[in-house]
């Protein structure tokens, strides 16, 4: 092996290494190939050529010829450091928190310059000309940026920023792919409501089919814009579900999105993951609150490392190593400053009727007007993620200290992906942790107080914890009500309100905090909420406000005192009649439980 060959190898490795530096700002398409080439070829050269050569060279000159070369010894030492750090980066990587990883990264980076310098000192002939030619020949041109196109559709306002007409299955990435490095976050999401928006959500499936029957097949797009972005952008016309043999698998109790993991193993990226996947949210570039699903997506311009889409296990392993050795680009391409703002969530959490533009859900609009939106005072300002993506323990927000990536940096407040909101039920069927987080959050929302005067029982409910109405979201399908039991001295119930009937429905005397939609004839719309024309009632509690419910107790004076009163603030995610309808299509669906958010007991000893 000639010396010159070795020098060329080293120069090539050095060149392909430094081109990855951000100062060169080379286009991603070149970057990923250069990175992959650098890593794979360097590993090959180091093991098969460089190390054997250095051994022979050292033996020949230091032992046989007894030559003394300080630069040679330094060069050998530096080479050792570089090879070691390189292999460390390749095999273990530099995901953030690993000190050896960070040391390896900087060693590999800076020592390579020193090594290059020492190489010149050590060489007999100067190679300035060679280097100059090499540098000039590697001038890189960046391709021009792409233009954005705008789709204007009333049902869905998704804009594909990359200017394409539609996406194909391969443009989407199965979320299970993210699991290998973001295991905890993946598992949180897998049993959360954001994962279970389509095929695993029986309520949604029934409603989408009902909407299609009522308003035509095309109307599905109105639902799918937010519930099923991957299907809408790949021009699927309806949401589909999984099959296992001749049966529908019982996806209600599947934890950890195992079917998704299996799907990735079986079909790679060609099988489309329906619903809101990791990259749906993490590739949104812009949002507004001016219509349904009014967000912009950019899937095709994301910076994928070499072999990232490969289906072969070896290639997949390699691609993970490429990411891990220098993950900054990966991180940047899936994060965006807007992700921390509340307006990011607005594009889906404000819903409008497509024709009349009437508001169906206005969670973001409610937050905007609430005291939680206080940008002038950062201590009082609370964005969506401050409650819904913050870890709870013992009923209090306790930011999770830990990692979001395997081996990543330790963060003080890992944004958890349980997406706790109100729906403890569907996520709770799969995972108790998810359910627990949501119930804890629900219990922070309201405070009860109670007084009894002149035969009147006044119960006030204050919305203390929610930066939006209580309840919000599809509050026509939410039940939040007061369960009141008044007993006399003989423990006999003398007054009650808000009990469940035998069939599970809420009794007529209950006063749920909700809004009721009516059609043009002022009849309640029931399940057909898209028929909404007139608001029949709105008894929800805005953020920070109190609603007082007065119950008149007849013959209060003649009762046997002391009285004892128990008031519960109860919550049920879906009314029984809704669940009963859905159970026609999904018989395996259990009934959602009633959750008591607050309970207050009062003894009334004297006649007042």
């Amino acid at each position: 092996m000639k010396n010159i060959h070795m020098k060329i190898y080293i120069i090539l490795m050095f060149a392909s290494g430094i081109f990855q530096l951000s100062v060169f700002n080379i286009s991603w398409e070149y970057f990923r190939i250069i990175q992959a080439t650098h890593i794979v070829s360097s590993a090959f050269i180091a093991v098969f050529l460089l190390v054997p050569y250095v051994n022979l060279h050292t033996y020949e000159y230091m032992i046989v010829k007894k030559a003394k070369s300080a630069s040679g010894i330094i060069l050998g030492f530096l080479l050792f450091l570089i090879v070691l750090s390189g292999f460390y980066l390749f095999i273990v990587g530099n995901p953030g928190s690993d000190v050896l990883g960070i040391v390896s990264y900087y060693t590999h980076l800076y020592i390579s310059f020193v090594l290059f310098f020492v190489l010149f000192l050590h060489a007999k002939k100067k190679m300035t000309a060679t280097v100059a030619i090499l540098a000039i020949s590697l001038s890189i041109i960046n391709p021009s940026s792409l233009q954005a196109s705008k789709t204007s559709s009333k049902l869905s306002n998704i804009i594909l920023e990359d200017g394409v007409n539609r996406y194909h299955n391969n443009d989407w990435t199965n979320s299970a792919k993210c699991k290998s490095c973001h295991n905890d976050i993946f598992n949180q999401w897998a049993d959360s409501n954001h994962r279970n928006l389509v095929g695993t959500n029986p309520y949604y499936m029934v409603m989408e089919n009902l909407a299609a029957q009522d308003k035509g097949e095309g109307f599905r797009k109105w639902c799918m814009g937010c519930h099923n972005p991957s299907a809408v952008t790949t021009k699927q016309t309806k949401t589909s579900h999984m099959m296992a043999g001749n049966n529908m698998p019982n996806i209600l109790f599947e934890s950890g999105a195992t079917s998704l993991v299996e799907e990735l193993k079986l079909h790679g990226n060609s099988g489309l993951e329906e619903g809101v996947s990791c990259i749906t949210c993490h590739r949104i570039t812009k949002t507004d609150s001016n219509g349904n699903s009014s967000y912009s997506l950019d899937l095709t311009n994301r910076k994928k490392y070499a072999l990232e889409d490969s289906s072969s296990p070896t290639m997949k392993w390699l691609s993970e190593k490429f990411i891990n050795s220098n993950p900054i680009t990966h991180k940047q391409s899936y994060s965006n400053p807007i992700y921390k703002k509340s307006s990011y969530c607005a594009s889906c959490h404000d819903e409008f009727l497509p024709d009349s533009k009437k508001e169906i859900v206005s969670t973001f609009a409610e937050w905007e007007k609430s005291p939680f939106n206080n940008p002038k005072d950062p201590n009082k300002h609370k964005a969506c993620i401050d409650c819904h993506m913050t870890n709870l323990s013992d009923g209090k927000f306790s930011p999770l200290k830990g990692r979001s990536t395997t081996g990543g940096t330790i963060k003080d407040d890992v944004k958890v992906h349980y997406f706790s909101g109100a729906n403890h039920f569907l996520s709770g069927l799969k995972n108790k942790t998810n359910e627990d987080q949501t119930i804890q959050l629900l219990k922070t929302s309201a405070k009860l107080s109670l007084d009894f005067k002149d035969g009147k029982l006044n119960v006030s409910v204050k919305n203390v914890g929610a930066g939006h109405h209580l309840p919000t979201g599809v509050s026509d399908f939410r039940e939040l009500w007061l369960d009141i039991t008044l007993k006399d001295a003989n423990n006999k119930i003398v007054y009650s309100s808000g009990k469940l009937k035998k069939d599970g429905n809420l009794a007529k005397d209950a006063r749920p905090f909700m809004k009721v939609f009516g059609d043009e004839n002022s009849k309640p719309v029931g399940l057909f909420f898209w028929r909404y024309k007139k608001l029949l009632s709105d008894t929800r509690i805005p953020a920070g406000e109190t609603r007082v419910e007065t119950h008149i107790i007849n013959d209060a004076k003649s009762l046997a005192y002391p009285l004892s009163v128990q008031v519960k603030l109860n919550f049920r995610i879906y009314p029984q009649w809704v669940t009963s309808t859905v159970q026609k299509a999904y018989p395996q669906l259990p009934n959602p439980p009633v959750i008591t958010l607050e309970e207050i007991n009062l003894d009334i000893p004297l006649r007042k």
Binding site: Q213, M243, L266, H267, S311, K584, A585
Partner: protein, 400 residues
């Protein structure tokens, strides 16, 4: 030096001659009328839009259409008494509702007091697809199909030359007879059939209106007559009948692709399929790999290659049930593509769920092409234009 010159000249001549072999004609873009003429000239045709056209189509049938037969056939089609266990009817597998005018089937079933529908029917009945959407069919008393074969749609089958997966049946009447007596279908013997129908006054009367006596032969003739009225009409038919704006430009490109790539060679005729028996797969390549490797189509990947280390199969998907087609030679009746968008899952055992994957496999194994994303999109747009509702012919007494 002269050596290099010779090599250079050789390479030039070689490349030049190869370039002559490459196609250099620009792709022909058909305008709407040319496309229609080209398609009609190749035997594709539109379905009847009224009863006069339907009767004309069946003018020379052995089983003459009559109002009484159709009326009886329709009653029989939805009658569960036609199965041994009294649990399934023809319409259980060839899923459709009796009254095509009811547009609120789904909400009716959601709110009905009784619930005799299984999970699939409640959502898929309103599709009116003529198939149960299961992977493989289930007969009376839950008997599975011995080869795990997928139920094909009954719609438009009266216009096909061959029926069933292997194409051994030539008429809907014959198939009706076989479906009644097959042990894995309705599983009803002729004696039992006659006994049950004679006992039922309503059916006895209907039978005697249409025929001289109650027997298996007449039952299948009546069912056959009814099945002949199960015809769908789609946007594609409107286009063939002269309405240029009936289908999108993408679907027109798809139709053009469909013909240019030779798909219509097998998926031929008024039914777009069902007219011949062909081998599948025609091309096995190196060997047909497991479904795991079949759908990889990584357009943008730089270094995507896989090793042929999967399990070899007779089909580019798992052959659950072990069915090998007619005479075990992988010969199949070409499926009807009308309403193909409503009849997933696909292939003889329902192994492939998505239409896009089917188009990919058919192009690869049958016509030997690897389609671009755009070509696939266009073909799927065309297949969507084949989707249509059952025509309501409103045949009345005295029409025929």
């Amino acid at each position: 030096m002269s050596y290099f010159l010779k090599v250079g000249v050789f390479l030039f001549v070689l490349l030049f001659s190869v370039s002559l072999l490459l196609p250099h004609k620009a792709r022909k873009i058909y305008d709407d009328n040319e496309l229609r003429q080209m398609v009609l000239a190749r035997g594709l045709a539109s379905t009847p839009k009224n009863k006069a056209e339907l009767f004309k189509l069946h003018k020379n049938d052995v089983n003459k259409l009559s109002y009484a037969k159709i009326k009886l056939g329709k009653e029989l089609f939805f009658n569960k008494n036609l199965s041994k266990g009294k649990d399934v009817s023809c319409s259980t597998c060839h899923s459709m509702s009796k009254d095509l005018n009811v547009k609120t089937l789904y909400s009716n079933m959601l709110t009905s007091k009784t619930n005799d529908a299984n999970d699939c029917v409640i959502c898929h009945l309103s599709d009116q697809s003529g198939t149960d959407r299961l992977l493989s069919s289930l007969g009376s008393q839950g008997t599975p199909h011995p080869f795990s074969l997928n139920t094909q749609s009954i719609l438009n089958t009266s216009l096909a030359k061959y029926l069933t997966w292997e194409g051994n049946v030539k008429s809907v009447e014959e198939q009706a007879r076989l479906s009644i007596i097959s042990p894995h279908k309705l599983n009803l013997s002729e004696d039992e059939l006659i006994k049950r129908m004679t006992a039922d006054k309503k059916y006895k009367k209907l039978f005697l209106n249409a025929f001289e006596k109650i027997n298996l032969q007449n039952t299948s003739l009546a069912l056959g007559a009814y099945v002949k009225t199960l015809i769908t009409r789609s946007a594609y038919d409107e286009f063939l009948d002269g309405n240029n704006s009936a289908i999108s430009q993408e679907a027109k490109n798809g139709l053009s692709n469909f013909v240019r790539f030779g798909c219509n060679g097998c998926h031929a005729g008024i039914t777009v399929g069902g007219q011949s028996i062909q081998k599948f797969p025609v091309r096995a390549y190196n060997s047909i790999m497991d479904v795991t490797n079949s759908f990889q189509n990584d357009g943008r990947e730089v270094g995507s290659f896989g090793f042929n280390d999967g399990v070899a199969h007779s089909f580019p998907f798992e052959n659950k049930g072990g069915y090998m087609g007619k005479e075990g030679k992988q010969l199949f009746r070409v499926p009807i593509l009308r309403n193909v968008t409503k009849t997933s899952p696909y292939f003889h055992n329902g192994s492939v769920k998505k239409l896009r994957d089917v188009v990919f496999l058919m192009a690869r194994h049958q016509v030997g092409m690897s389609l671009t994303n755009q070509q696939t999109d266009e073909i799927i747009a065309f297949l969507k234009s084949l989707e249509g509702d059952i025509v309501e012919f409103n045949i009345k007494n005295g029409d025929i």
